[in-house]
């Protein structure tokens, strides 16, 4: 009548589709939560999910229900001191402290609690990138540094003893042994049989010479059989390694930001979002990504993330100071042959008048030849200043490694980011 089925091995994500449907439906709510999270979190802390909560009323599924009012009788358990005919005040909306719960019909659970759930890491990132289609921005568009690394390339007959492939060596030894020993064995067998035949004959008819010959032959064959070596140098096989140029999997990302008085916190938040996107992109492409934060006003300084985004500075702006520092850091810590170098710069476009030309010089002569990619965003609603013009000339020089865009408000970031990378695809 009954039978058991073990279903534990079955797929367990039967609800995955429904979950996706839910997420799809509440996209806008979730997106808002994700954006908040992006502002709140550190750049390096994007690779985990997020708690999202949605007001219950937004996701309720309405049905016809009785409302408050009218006459209703409710049966409750656990009477202690009531007797028939007891009258009591209706618990007021605000007071609510009274000991007796009165058992208001509980079908009116207009709970204002939020509906909370967690997004997985993948879902979170998908919302962060929202349509950026990162898979299409594979590393092929990025001119990576090559690094030489040994790669297995089959089996060779010679090599250093440390790389002996024992299984393959023993296998060929066995094949050789079989091949070399079997003709000897066959001859041995024939000789032995002939000898026996001779010895079975009547003593008068035995050919003594023949027997002596056969015995000598058997002895000789046995010696030959023994002489076949168990393992010969000829058998040895080695794992073969060849050196192959491989794209380097180390990258360093420099975040360069103007923190002069003209950059407000809002500007910096936009900048943060931009850096974040680039970081996430790099992180998916490289095993190891290091971050260097350089901020500058009239002088540049390397700082940590917290200070980079949230400390306040005032003063004028000299962009070249940051570029010089950038160059020094690369020189001292990140030799271009080993690291993929990315620079993201955010600024409001202000610069000391004469400095912009210096910047161009620095860029074209020193920096750009070593960099994988340089992305510049100008966060300003205003007209461009000298720096933009100079950078445009850099862009002409290095069209597929330098990109610049203008951002006016936070909403522009994703499109701009996409634009920056799309250009590389077409380039």
């Amino acid at each position: 009548m009954s039978y058991f089925i073990d279903r534990r091995g079955n797929a367990r994500n039967k609800s995955a589709v429904n979950r996706q449907r839910f997420i799809r439906r509440y996209r806008s709510h979730i997106k808002r939560a994700v954006e908040d999270a992006v502002n709140r979190r550190s750049i390096t802390d994007m690779e985990r999910g997020e708690e999202v909560s949605i007001p219950t009323r937004d996701i309720s599924e309405p049905v016809f229900q009785h409302g408050q009012g009218g006459k209703r009788r409710v049966i409750n358990p656990g009477n202690k001191e009531f007797v028939e005919g007891d009258r009591m005040r209706r618990p007021g909306g605000g007071s609510g402290g009274g000991g007796s719960g009165e058992g208001q019909a509980s079908n009116q659970g207009e709970g204002e609690d939020d509906f909370a759930f967690s997004l997985s890491r993948e879902e979170f990132l998908e919302f962060v990138f929202d349509g950026l289609e990162l898979p299409h921005l594979e590393r092929k568009q990025v001119a990576d540094m090559d690094e030489v690394r040994p790669v297995r390339a089959g089996i060779a007959r010679d090599g250093p003893p440390a790389r002996i492939n024992i299984v393959r060596s023993m296998r060929s030894a066995q094949a050789r042994r079989i091949a070399m020993r079997s003709p000897i064995k066959r001859a041995l067998k024939e000789a032995t049989e002939a000898l026996e035949q001779e010895e079975c004959k009547d003593p008068v008819l035995r050919n003594k010479v023949r027997i002596a010959e056969l015995k000598a032959e058997i002895e000789r064959l046995e010696a030959r059989l023994k002489a076949v070596p168990f393992l010969d140098t000829y058998d040895l096989r080695y794992n073969h390694l060849i050196n192959q140029p491989m794209p380097s999997n180390k990258a360093v990302m420099f975040c360069v930001m103007d923190v002069s008085g003209s950059m407000t916190q809002a500007h910096k938040d936009i900048g943060k979002r931009f850096f974040l996107l680039l970081y996430l992109f790099l992180e998916r492409n490289y095993e190891k990504v290091e971050l260097v934060f350089i901020r500058h006003h009239t002088a540049a300084k390397e700082v940590d993330e917290e200070e980079f985004f949230y400390s306040r500075e005032t003063g004028g702006t000299i962009v070249s100071s940051a570029l010089t520092l950038l160059d020094e850091v690369i020189e001292s810590r990140y030799p271009a042959g080993e690291w993929n170098l990315y620079v993201a710069q955010a600024s409001d476009g202000d610069n000391w008048d004469d400095d912009s030309t210096n910047c161009r010089e620095l860029m074209i002569k020193k920096l750009m030849p070593r960099l994988q990619y340089y992305a510049y965003v100008e966060i300003t609603p205003h007209a461009h200043q000298a720096l933009w013009g100079e950078y445009e000339r850099v862009e002409e020089e290095f069209p597929d490694r330098f990109a610049m865009q203008q951002i006016v408000e936070a909403g522009d970031i994703y499109p701009v980011f996409r634009e920056l990378f799309k250009r590389r695809v077409s380039a």
Binding site: S2, N18, G70, R73, G78, K80, F82, R87, S106
Partner: protein, 522 residues
């Protein structure tokens, strides 16, 4: 069965410890079946599936349907279960059983051996025999066809999504879900659902339905005022004075929509039908919560005790069982922080246990209250009760003064014409009947849900649809009436009105689209 097996078991110590194995499960299943047969529990064959807790969450989220169509609301359900479970606010249900033939029951891998035995007794014999025996389930659901129908529904919904887009299907299903409690025939037995037939006749039905609807709406709509102005002189043949359509109020809103909504495409009608059929399938469950759980608890209690008496389970197991059983049938008082209404497990278990007591050891009170069953064969009586009642009538018939006293039930009257709440009955001789009456009403679906029916479809005028809500004890509709009417409007395609009736007078009118929008657009 065989002698060999029995002797082997005799050598076995009674089960103790908490680890289970398939061998042990089969052994106990076998023993439970033997005991259940003694008590004449008639069941569908059991298909017992062992699953992980994640799979349990999946099963849970799809309201126990082993295959469901895709919809965001199930995703929402899943997320909330998952969240609550992860935070430890809620243990997962230990069991889940599906009214199908074979009856599918889930055992969670994490359960202890005791739990597995308990769940088998509870679900595979308790609920299962209830599904097979109770008149509502016999009349309204077709256990052998439901799984196939669910498969059909899932496929059909997926096909519609492909052809018409996920959004279009989702919106339609949202609207249908809002009305699904009004998608059941309450008094008329539905024709059984058969998946083969469904698929086979679906095309046919699409064409036929559409033709019917077209016929209904074929008259060219005329301005409403024309309709009213025509008197006998101008309209001697009475062409414009036909009766209201539908001639009788219709309780099954979804059925009415499926057959009459003017603008729905055939596939949309089919989806309405699917939601309606599933609502119909769950309809008996909503009406037999107390009985169903009470019956299952009664039997797991009886079976577990007998297993113990026969020394098939040890003392550790029975103590673990009693601890778990008492927490399941516990009824916190109304002033307890965890109070959440009457616990159907507690009430149902108390009532079935009490029926047994009345049969076996009746006292004078029982003879007065239950002359028919006092002293009768208890097994016969509980089976009779299980087969022929639903919660409402079961309470009306069998709630004994002793149970009322044990649970200390009292009745609280909340009348908005009175600024005080009144205790109008407690567990004393004057109150028993009134409490029984009131509790029975409390479990009547007709009382729990507003009484709403299709009143009129204006087939010759503006094609608007009018619903009537008959107020019960002056209880108005909750604010959710507006979103639900919006959904109804999506299905109907023309304005929707609702009249809330109090004693033959219209107390309140609702309409969608809202009048402001009307004037704005007009």
């Amino acid at each position: 069965m065989s002698h060999k097996r029995e002797s082997r078991l005799e050598n076995h110590a009674p089960a103790s410890g908490s680890d289970w194995s398939f061998e042990l499960l089969e052994h106990f299943e076998h023993e439970i079946a033997r005991i259940a047969a003694q008590y004449r529990l008639d069941i569908y064959p059991n298909q017992i599936e062992v699953i992980t807790s994640e799979q349990m969450m999946d099963a849970y989220a799809s309201i126990g349907m082993p295959v469901g169509y895709h919809h965001w609301s199930f995703g929402k359900q899943f997320l909330s279960v998952e969240q609550a479970y992860r935070r430890g606010q809620m243990g997962l249900a230990y069991e889940l059983v599906i009214n199908s033939d074979p009856c599918i029951a889930y055992l969670m891998e994490e359960n202890t051996l005791m739990m597995q035995i308990l769940v088998m007794a509870h679900a595979c014999y308790g609920h299962n025999s209830f599904f097979k025996g109770n008149y509502l389930f016999r009349a309204w659901t077709d256990a052998s066809a439901i799984i196939d129908y669910l498969v059909f529904a899932r496929k059909y919904v997926a096909e519609c999504e492909e052809r018409h887009g996920v959004d279009a299907v989702e919106q339609l299903l949202d609207a249908c879900h809002a009305l699904q409690n009004y998608g059941v025939d309450r008094y008329k037995r539905p024709s059984p659902i058969s998946p083969e037939e469904e698929v086979q006749r679906q095309q046919e039905r699409e064409a036929y339905l559409q033709a019917q609807v077209n016929a209904l709406w074929s008259t060219i709509p005329q301005a409403e005022d024309d309709d009213e102005q025509l008197d006998e002189v101008n309209d001697p043949l009475g062409l414009h004075r036909r009766g209201r359509y539908p001639s009788e109020p219709q309780e099954n809103l979804l059925y009415f929509i499926e057959k009459n909504a003017p603008l729905l495409e055939p596939w949309q009608r089919e989806l309405v039908r699917i939601v309606r059929k599933l609502a119909q399938y769950f309809y008996p469950q909503r009406q037999t919560q107390v009985m169903n759980e009470g019956w299952a608890c009664f039997w797991h209690y009886t079976i577990m005790n007998q297993l113990y008496d026969e020394e098939l389970i040890g003392e550790g197991v029975i103590l673990e069982f009693l601890q778990s059983h008492t927490s399941v049938v516990q009824q916190p008082g109304f002033d307890h922080p965890h109070y959440n209404g009457i616990n159907p497990y507690a009430l149902g278990f108390a009532m079935f246990t009490d029926i047994k007591r009345i049969c076996e050891h009746p006292d004078d009170e029982d003879r007065e209250w239950f002359p028919d069953i006092a002293g009768s064969d208890w097994l016969e009586t509980v089976h009779f009760a299980m087969r022929n009642f639903k919660d409402e009538s079961f309470i009306q018939q069998f709630l004994s003064p002793k149970v009322i006293r044990d649970l200390k039930l009292f009745s609280l009257m909340d009348d908005d014409h009175d600024d005080h709440l009144v205790i109008d009955a407690i567990h004393d001789s004057r109150g028993y009947k009134r409490i029984r009456e009131a509790l029975s009403v409390q479990y009547a679906l007709s009382h729990r849900e507003p009484n709403i029916q299709v009143w009129a479809a204006n087939i010759r005028g503006d094609r608007s649809l009018t619903l009537r809500h008959v107020q019960d004890d002056r209880r108005p509709l909750a604010r959710s009436v507006y979103p639900v009417m919006r959904h109804l409007h999506q299905l109907w395609g023309f304005p929707v009105h609702m009249e809330s009736m109090e004693q033959d007078e219209i107390a309140r009118r609702y309409q969608w689209p809202l009048p402001e929008e009307d004037s704005a657009s007009g």
